[in-house]
């Protein structure tokens, strides 16, 4: 399970995002930590080499 942020880490993440939340909003957000971590756990798994973003950009004559 991905780590759940403590109060200090939450403040850092919010500051880094530029979000200014009041104490009630922070408390509300904390109620999602476990559900969000469970969601992340479903995608944060080892994957094969075909599982990459692999942009092809759709090059056309205009790129030449």
């Amino acid at each position: 399970m991905p780590p759940i942020p403590n109060d200090e880490a939450l403040d850092y993440l919010l500051a880094a995002s530029g979000l200014d939340l009041n104490p009630d909003q922070k408390a509300d957000l904390k109620t999602t930590f476990e559900a969000l971590a469970a969601m992340k756990a479903r995608v944060r798994q080892p994957r094969g080499n075909m599982a990459e973003l692999a942009h092809t950009f759709g090059f056309t004559e205009e790129d030449l």
Binding site: L14, S17, A35, M39, V43, A51
Partner: protein, 469 residues
């Protein structure tokens, strides 16, 4: 009866139905019901009547341009309309008057449709129902105490109640198919890139789709014919030939191969008995019509939901980053919460979700080899009450629609019956990329073999509805 768009088009072409009278009948229904349903945020009555008169004059002079000529429609209020306020149900955009129409609005106008107004949406096509926005949320015509689903809530309510014959919805995780399911209509999310998103407010770039919502699958086919096509103003627009979406309707289902993703609705998120019954009946009807039916297994619904939700949270936080930093309090509470979540999803989380998406798409592609469509639920049950939607609905039980936003595959929800509360239940049919014609053909055959299109919500005034007979 209120005519379907196909019926109205035939009558208009035969000069047996006046677009002006049809528009007046729709307007009468708006005046009778919208005080309760709140499907419209902006009713453009004078414009509608003027467009109907112009359509009628042109049709009398030289015949209809096509089956949407003279047909009353509505546009979800995240669709730009030149000179008409497009507020996305947000305090932030109350003064926003676009200088140009969105691509889908241009196409519908060119087809000669009659624009009735702007339809209620959840704020920026997210969250809902919300009671802290500039306008109230739309309500379900089958029972106004109940939810329409969203975010194309006004389109769902307006089509089901016959205020319009069809309308534009948008779908990032189910916002066309959810309201279609709960309001008992048809709504198709086309293949990603088939319909231009130019001029429509984004929700999550790689999951956003524009599509038709109407009373029947046949009407969706007619509307999709108008909407589909390449547009260089949409960076994701697909440049490929557009087939005739109505050509195959009525040609039967002999040999059509159907997969049932049974574990989605029987195990991963067990649906209520009426929905289960509706899916079972759908399978029986399709078999009776000649289809071959097999079971299909995919990754658990929860994996699709997690993948789509993490991408959606991050892309939405990206699209609205500046306002989230500077005007967070001006969003409604539900959207504020979604934007707050963006701070908790890291770059690694997002890229891992995109990597998982690639795997899930490959899995669906492999599972559909040898099949034409797959089916599952559209929604778990009849519509819940308006006050029964969780505060953090993204963490509620996984929805049945998100997998096909993750994959980008076309998917339609149609009515598959009614529950004990008198509200509709639905089934979802999913096709391969750009195979909308097949999806619509199967959905149309199902609708025409059943009687679920025969009755409208009880609140629809029958005296007004009889106008087009």
């Amino acid at each position: 009866m209120i005519p379907t768009m196909a019926e109205a088009a035939r009558l208009i072409a035969a000069k047996k139905l006046s677009p002006v009278e049809l528009t007046k009948a729709c307007l009468e229904r708006v005046h009778a019901m919208d005080g309760t349903l709140h499907a419209f945020v902006l009713l453009t009555e004078e414009r509608a009547l003027a467009e109907a008169r112009a359509a009628e004059a042109e049709i009398m002079r030289s015949g209809p341009r096509g089956p949407m000529h003279g047909i009353p429609i509505g546009l979800k209020d995240i669709v730009d309309t030149k000179g008409l306020r497009t507020a996305s149900q947000s305090k932030i955009l109350q003064e926003n008057v676009p200088v140009a129409d969105a691509a889908c609005a241009v196409r519908l106008a060119a087809a000669g449709s009659v624009m009735m107004g702007k339809l209620t949406t959840h704020e920026f096509a997210d969250g809902g129902p919300s009671f802290d926005l500039p306008a109230p949320p739309a309500r379900n015509p089958w029972n106004p105490d109940h939810f329409t689903a969203g975010s194309s809530s006004g389109t769902g309510a307006a089509v089901a109640s016959g205020m319009i014959l069809c309308g534009i919805g948008t779908d990032t995780g189910g916002s066309i198919r959810g309201p279609a399911a709960l309001c008992g209509i048809a709504g198709i999310k086309p293949t990603y890139g088939l319909v231009s998103r130019a001029g429509v407010a984004p929700a999550a770039f790689s999951l956003d789709h524009i599509g038709p919502m109407a009373w029947t699958a046949e009407d969706c086919a007619i509307m999709l014919q108008v909407l589909a096509g390449h547009d260089p103003r949409d960076p994701a627009s697909a440049d490929r030939p557009i087939p005739d979406y109505t050509a195959g309707l009525g040609s039967g289902l002999k040999g059509v191969r159907v997969g049932v993703i049974r574990h989605f609705h029987e195990t991963d998120h067990k649906v209520a008995a009426p929905t289960q019954l509706g899916i079972g009946n759908t399978v029986s009807v399709l078999r009776d019509l000649g289809a071959q039916v097999v079971d299909v297994t995919l990754s658990p619904l929860q994996d699709w939901h997690a993948c789509g939700s993490l991408i959606s949270i991050t892309e939405r936080a990206t699209a609205y980053e500046e306002w989230a930093r500077t005007r967070l309090a001006d969003f409604g509470e539900r959207v504020q919460r979604r934007l707050m979540l963006g701070a908790l999803v890291s770059g690694v989380d997002y890229v891992q979700a995109v990597r998982r998406r690639r795997e899930l798409r490959a899995e669906l592609q492999a599972a559909m080899r040898g099949l034409d469509i797959v089916i599952t639920a559209g929604a778990p049950d009849e519509a819940p009450k308006m006050d029964a939607i969780p505060r953090w609905d993204v963490f509620a039980a996984p929805g049945f629609t998100m997998p096909f936003n993750v994959a980008g595959y076309p998917a339609i929800c149609v009515c598959s019956g009614f529950g004990p509360g008198g509200l509709p239940v639905s089934v979802q049919m999913v096709g391969k990329p750009f195979q909308e014609a097949t999806v619509l053909r199967v959905a149309d055959a199902f609708e025409k073999a059943t009687s679920f299109r025969d009755s409208r919500p009880a609140m629809v005034p029958q005296n007004v509805a009889a106008m087009a007979n």
